[in-house]
Symmetry: C2
Subunit: 197 residues, 2 copies
């Protein structure tokens, strides 16, 4: 590593500070305060480490951790789109790809390529690591909404069917986590904090 | 893994949400908004990944990432103590050790033991991984203060000598990062944002 590399890395480190300003729709546990993307990504990284044993397939946990730490960095340019948004796709990948190229492109060439590859792998969701990372990414807001008396489901009038469909991605990474998640969703209907039409 | 393990892990995951409320003294880059411990830990994890090549010694990067992700969790019970605090030691380890036992102790036994061992290793600062993790932990607020016209140095009237002494820990993990950090400290004196008596 040379000094030019270090200065490029520092530029990237300063740029990603902006992730701390990107507000998500979901709130912290038992709270009215919105979570931001940096807090979310930190929480996912620790969830991945703690829950790794529940992955159905063998996973490289370092790669999963890298995925969840960087997965929302593109939102510096493209913004956070609510998963239940009815106007704009949650996975606005063309815009996000431009953002990935710009932001990870601040890094030295080889590192930039590696980071973009990890981000693309997460978006594609096909490897064991990406499937588990996506399971964790869907599980955290489920835990938050059930702790917040329905949270964004109530606030944005999201029905059971939509929640069930989006959350079933959890199954791709871990049957154990999905069984648990399915229980939380059904309990939420029983408690009246998630409407079933 | 069984269901009891999963429920214990979920209890831990919910408990550590409190890290998002622990305010640090340092502010975000070019900002008046205090950073919280979750944001700080997320940033350190990515800094560790991006800067790993500057470690003087071979490191297990997954272990470094785990260290920085969990290093401030004990502050849920013990609170954040400012590194330049003149009344209370920044490393109030007895209180922090109780906190580590309580919080990591929510996890299944083997995971709790592993997490406590990683936290203890960070605190002791003797392994290559702990030295590099501590380098990164000292570098982030240096970058923030130099971006914030002196930041906490000015706000709390911290002199060059104190800053130099605390930051020299960076040298234990990486001579390259220390050379860069030393340059930032000297530039700060030259710019008048850090006082040299």
């Amino acid at each position: 590593m040379n000094t030019t590399d270090l200065l490029d890395q520092i530029a990237f480190i300063k740029e990603i500070d902006k992730v701390k300003y990107i507000q998500r729709k979901t709130k912290l546990f038992n709270s009215d305060r919105n979570e931001n993307d940096a807090e979310h990504s930190w929480h996912l990284a620790l969830m991945a480490i703690v829950l790794a044993g529940h992955s159905d397939e063998p996973i490289n946990i370092l790669r999963v951790v890298k995925m969840v730490l960087i997965h929302d960095i593109v939102e510096i340019d493209s913004g956070d789109v609510f998963i239940y948004d009815t106007q704009k796709s949650h996975d606005n990948t063309d815009e996000e790809r431009l953002a990935a190229n710009r932001i990870f492109g601040l890094l030295p060439k080889k590192q930039a390529e590696d980071m973009i590859a990890i981000w693309e792998e997460f978006v594609a969701g096909e490897t064991n690591e990406a499937k588990f990372a996506k399971s964790i990414d869907r599980l955290e807001p489920l835990l938050q909404n059930t702790s917040n008396n329905g949270g964004t489901w109530k606030e944005f009038d999201v029905p059971y069917q939509k929640v069930y469909e989006k959350k079933s991605v959890i199954k791709e990474g871990s049957k154990t986590l999905w069984t648990y998640a399915e229980g939380l969703i059904n309990d939420s209907v029983a408690k009246g904090i998630l409407k079933k039409e």
